[in-house]
Amino acid sequence: MSELTLTVMRLGFLAVLWLFVIVAVQVIRSDLFGTRVTQRGSRRTATDARPPQARQNAAAPPQQRQQPGRQRRGAPTKLVVSEGSLTGTTVALQGQTITLGRAHDSTIVLDDDYASSRHARIYPDRDGQWIVEDLGSTNGTYLDRTRLTTPTPVPLGAPIRIGKTVIELRK
């Protein structure tokens, strides 16, 4: 066997061996499983001070923003939990119904002994006005200090109290 062939084979073998290692590492890189956490950024008022990643998303919303109907100035844009174990949680208001309760499929799952599994829901009516409705809960839903009996419009910043949890709509 010529010297050259053997040298080529020697180096070729090392290259192939390393290629295998690299391919194996690539497989590990693409081998993702387990829990997927998706961040869904959504925006109501947009300025240039937003992160570049979100800027691409912002291209679509202009039409979307009109969707909730005749959204008035001063309409709430998010729902904020201000007291209770979920303090700090915010949910963007995009015209969807928000359900609250201990059931796992609620939008906001309340970990609260005083909440029912389907406790209340918050939804926009045709005018874009947000309405809170008690779903026959045991301990009741309070807007400010009055217990709800019928679907009631929620003013901006008014506390909705469910057990130990307090929720507000904010701009």
Binding site: R10, L14, L17, L32, F33, T38, R50, K78, G136
Partner: protein
Amino acid sequence: MSVVTNTTTIGAIDAPSRRNTELMLMVFAVAISVFAYANVGLAINGELPSGMLGYGLGLALLGGIGHLAVRKFAPYADPLLLPLATLLNGLGLAIIWRLDQSERFQATPNFVAAASKQLMFSAAGVALLVIVLLALKDHRILQRYTYISMLVALFLLILPMFFPAVNGAKIWIKIPGVGTIQPGEFAKIIIAVFFAGYLMVKRDALALASRRFMGLYLPRGRDLGPILMVWAFSILILVFETDLGSSLLFFGMFVVMLYVATERTSWIVFGLLMSAAGAVGVATFEPHVQQRVTAWLDPFDGWGKLAASEQMAKSLMAFGSGGTLGTGLGQGNSDLIGFAANSDFILATVGEELGLAGMMAVLLVYGLIVERGVRTALAARDPFGKLLAIGLSGSFAIQVFVVAGGVMGLIPLTGMTMPFVAAGGSSVIANWALIGILLRISDTARRPAPAPAPSPDAEMTQVVRP
């Protein structure tokens, strides 16, 4: 003003089974091994070796059977473990065959051609892997046999004491007509089952009942019991079987699992102190261990006087002559090592003929196997599976470290074999079984979670309107 509200959604990613990736890597691994085999033949005899077809087909068959078994019985198992092990096994076969061809190596006393035997052992190993996958439907079954496995492991470890020493260490048992078995390799797996089952139950007591002293959690005296027992036992192995390797392996594995189970760094500190004290203590009076230490401290001093030193020195020279890119397969002089060149010292051949570059790749392949084991442990949902996977991959890692470190002169040489690569039936068979158990745990861990049970309160609240 910019308002960015984020709703975080947490869902499950459906793990694809990735069996096709495994198949592709497997083909690649077999191809590399056949390449190595052809390279050896061309370098030594100047022609493609006649046994190449048989060797390639044999290896491909083994890999294929392993792959099909995984496809059938563990469809979600880790895609990398099997190809990595196959590559090491195939590479080992090529190098063993290369040493078989060497005339100098053939001239050593009690030489036997090892390559065909090794292929047979690999077949037995893959068969055991298939049996493990077939019989062990759920690794949690092993938990039932916690204390039985302790007895079996102790029995396997003590057994070689009653057989004559081979090359100074009593780690073999000789069965007339069958050959020699190294029970320690199997005990390694069995004792991992015991440690996992035991620590799972006792870890709270070991982790929580402790005093804090100088930043370390000091366990209570009575909680030191188990570690002292394992330590004493590993010292006994060292004294009566004069085998530093197994002793280090068992104690190291226990410390690793203890640390993972309790999350207390103090166990590592205690473990290191105790193993250092034990090794130094035994080395003062045990001549076999002393020899090894002498050979480690000054390998070239004993040239011509002490066989162990000379062998060590030859191994270091082999690494040196290999340099960065190696001499090429079949073109080195590592066969000068003579005795045990194809088992304990096989890494010297890898180092000489593939050089630093090849050596790093081989060590990385070992590292990747360990990484997949640890990943399996992280992904496993039950504490027993976690501990078992950590124990098995930890013992694999310790074994690789002890052998590679010994051959390279980092630590005193011990009589252990490099998993998969070195010639030796027990080692190959036991390590295939180890891979089988890891595959089983990873299959359980990566299997997509069953659809959530219907929520009990899903139909409870209904609003009835008039």
